[in-house]
């Protein structure tokens, strides 16, 4: 990487799915000389969503970025949002405790995500990845959620399990907690 100081932006693009969205957006970024530092794209129902953290050597303005991205997103009928990241916000900050994968599934009902995540938030458990899907038949919809979280020091996976056991009863859903241990080889 060059030694010039970098400026960072969070870019999101959402709209009806069609071929060429990723190519269109990343071509504009490439022409601008932007680097994709981190990104995740997913199809959610019929919508395609791109979230990117991009960097560019300073000086580089939001106006300049929008000038290139706006025409592309308009052509693709996508909603564009761009935010400048203050110094330091591009760095990933994590708890240092265990990594947990939590799966929740059960008959669909309002509040599954809310109830589970607020129980976690109350313990300062940080969610790093979360996905949900609605499966099953129209008459018997099943809600499925998979999330990955880091525990703060001093919070054990057993604590998390106990914490969620109450919800399991109350919401009549299945909840599983698995520890993920990265291994250095």
């Amino acid at each position: 990487m060059p030694h010039r100081e970098l400026t960072y932006y969070a870019v999101s693009v959402v709209g009806a799915d069609r071929p060429g969205i990723v190519a269109g957006i990343t071509e504009a970024l490439y022409r601008l000389g932007c680097n994709i530092a981190d990104s995740s794209c997913a199809m959610l129902a019929g919508e395609f969503a791109m979230i990117l953290i991009i960097s560019h050597p300073k000086p580089f303005t939001k106006a300049h970025l929008l000038e290139e991205l706006k025409p592309v997103s308009e052509r693709l009928l996508m909603t564009l949002s761009v935010r400048h990241l203050p110094q330091g916000e591009q760095e990933r900050k994590e708890n240092t405790g265990e990594i947990c994968q939590i799966t929740v599934y059960g008959a669909d009902q309002p509040g599954i995500v809310y109830r589970v995540t607020s129980a976690l938030a109350a313990q300062q458990i940080n969610i790093m990845d979360l996905q949900t899907k609605l499966a099953g038949s129209g008459e018997a919809p099943v809600y499925i959620m998979l999330l990955e979280a880091t525990l703060p020091d001093g919070v054990s996976p057993e604590t998390v399990e106990q914490l969620l056991n109450g919800l399991k009863e109350e919401l009549q859903v299945e909840i599983g907690v698995r520890i993920v241990t990265p291994v250095e080889l």
Partner: protein, 169 residues
Amino acid sequence: MAVQSILKYPHPLLKKMAHRVDTLDPSILNLVQDLLDTMQAGPGSVGVAAPQIGVGLRVCVVDVSKSKHGKENNHGLLCMVNPEIISRSGSAIMREGCMSVPDYTGDVERSTEITVRFLDSRTGEQQEFTASGFEAVAIQHEMDHLDGVLFLDRIMSISTGLFRRKSYR
């Protein structure tokens, strides 16, 4: 012998097929010693393969006996020349990191039980045994290096694997 520096991807040797060893001559014994020194110097390292220190030969060392995951179930220190997996079964996913691919970990599926055969450089004898659990994962990871395969070739999802590494011992 000496601790060698670990080659990092995109060094081309890491993607090359390593050559079989014909005879256990002193240069091979020296290579094994370098691998051991390098493994012992790496924090929490449980294995090193010859291509990782710049030698394109089918030699690797593995020792999970001091790691949290392997201390209950292992065959101690293994100095493997021309290792081969004769049979394998089961599968499990583990989040792996590699000294040749710093600052990244990814979920990889591996066999849970493998039977390996190799020339033991310390005895000069052919050895064969069945390894399971973490030891089996470590052997498969190191043996992949001999085929120019990195765990990056086997990751199943990028989104769950972007974590800084800490000490996993």
